[in-house]
Amino acid sequence: MIELIIMIIKTSIVFAVVLTHVAYTTYAERKIIGRAQARMGPMEVGPYGLLQPIADFIKIFFKEDIVPRYAEKVLFQIAPLIVLVFTMINLTVIPFDRNFILADLNIGLLFILASASVAVYGIILAGWASNSRYSFLGGLRSASQVLSYEIALGLSLAGVVLAAGSLNLREIVIAQHNSVFGIYAIPQIIGFVVFVISAFAETNRAPFDLPEAETELVAGYLTEYSAFRYALFFLAEYVAMYIMAFLCTLCFLGGWTIPKFITDTLPFLEKVPGILWFAIKVYSFIFLYIWVRATLPRYRFDQLLNIGWKVLIPAGIINLLIVAFIKRLGL
């Protein structure tokens, strides 16, 4: 019974922290993009516009929830829930620190891939159930995009699994800490680049945000959604960004550890709590997301699929072969 209560408290802490982060990521995004375009970003609500996410939340909460007359009502209403649930569920297998993990699964990595592949249904259904051309095209684009890039993502992670010899995220970090470089991003640089590009495409973010390309599709699969259901999609997108950042941190950047050659030269860094390293790495990855969105133009859809199938998948296979050779030769 006590265990259950501790579990519930832990879970609510994780969810609260992540949701606060999501709220302030929207603020950070608007600020950074504003600065990149020589604007100030939000400034009105609170000092430096710091209360802007809260104001946005209150506004969106009190808006009217509109369901189009010719929409498939039930599917239209549960689609955002499918996306949100199957994205948030990933938070349970993420080890935030050496001993802070909600569920230490043996197959944590595969669990994340599996729930990501189910979350796509929400987007496809949102597109189909809206009964609108724009939404439908957005849903179709999202389906083909996520299907194509999941393969590249899986291949780049296969290299990590091969090198670490485990699917457990905690064991991957420990194996990584004991490896030569301390992070897998150095020996598996090809896999790392493949992972980062596919992570951008998996979360439907710029420069691969074709499912919601404003210039062509109004807002893609989100076109018919309003108020709280729109907010749920929005939330899911940002949580998915964080999941990808967590995954990148854990599988390629060493999680809560830092490489041994750094702690050998600067021994006082070992005193820093692991969660801080974890947070710094995750924030850098989120900053990369926003930075890329502020600077790169959007790809065309055929270019997107060409990159996925003709560049990233072969590169992922080459990375896997290199890792296999390194492992076999015992380097």
Binding site: I107, L113, A114, S117, I124, A143
Partner: protein, 167 residues
Amino acid sequence: MIYLIFAYFCASMIGITLMALTRKNPVHSVLWLLLLFLHIAVVYLFLNAEFLAVVQVIVYAGAILVMFLFTFFLLGAKELPKGKRYIDLWEGRALIGLLLTGVFIGAFSSVNTSWKGKYTIEYIEKIGHTKALGIMLFNEYPLAVFLLGIILLIPMIAVAVIAWRVR
């Protein structure tokens, strides 16, 4: 308690299958099928086969079923064709039912609960299901794995050839 959960999953799997078979709208059918696949994954978890459970979700729910949905969308089939089914003979139905019953009886009669061998439950618990599966597949059945790979490669080449010709 665990038996109650297992009973729920078994009962609801039958119900979900019936729902998937009787829907008029193919997209709804596919969604019930998705629910069925998730339930099957949970049943794998009851057998401590966590790797199989996740692969069930990734491959069947995440890839194959999305392909189904895609096909429905591209063909624009809002409803299934109302014409006569291919087989509408009661003799055929009875035959298929009898055959399936035979398969079930065969399967249940050959269940061996006291199976002894190298891969005992204790061994799998010690090194983990995924590892045990990998060791068994690649050490004892390497030829079968290679053959499966080739079988999967052939349709890929075929699709590439077809796409080439169209262009």
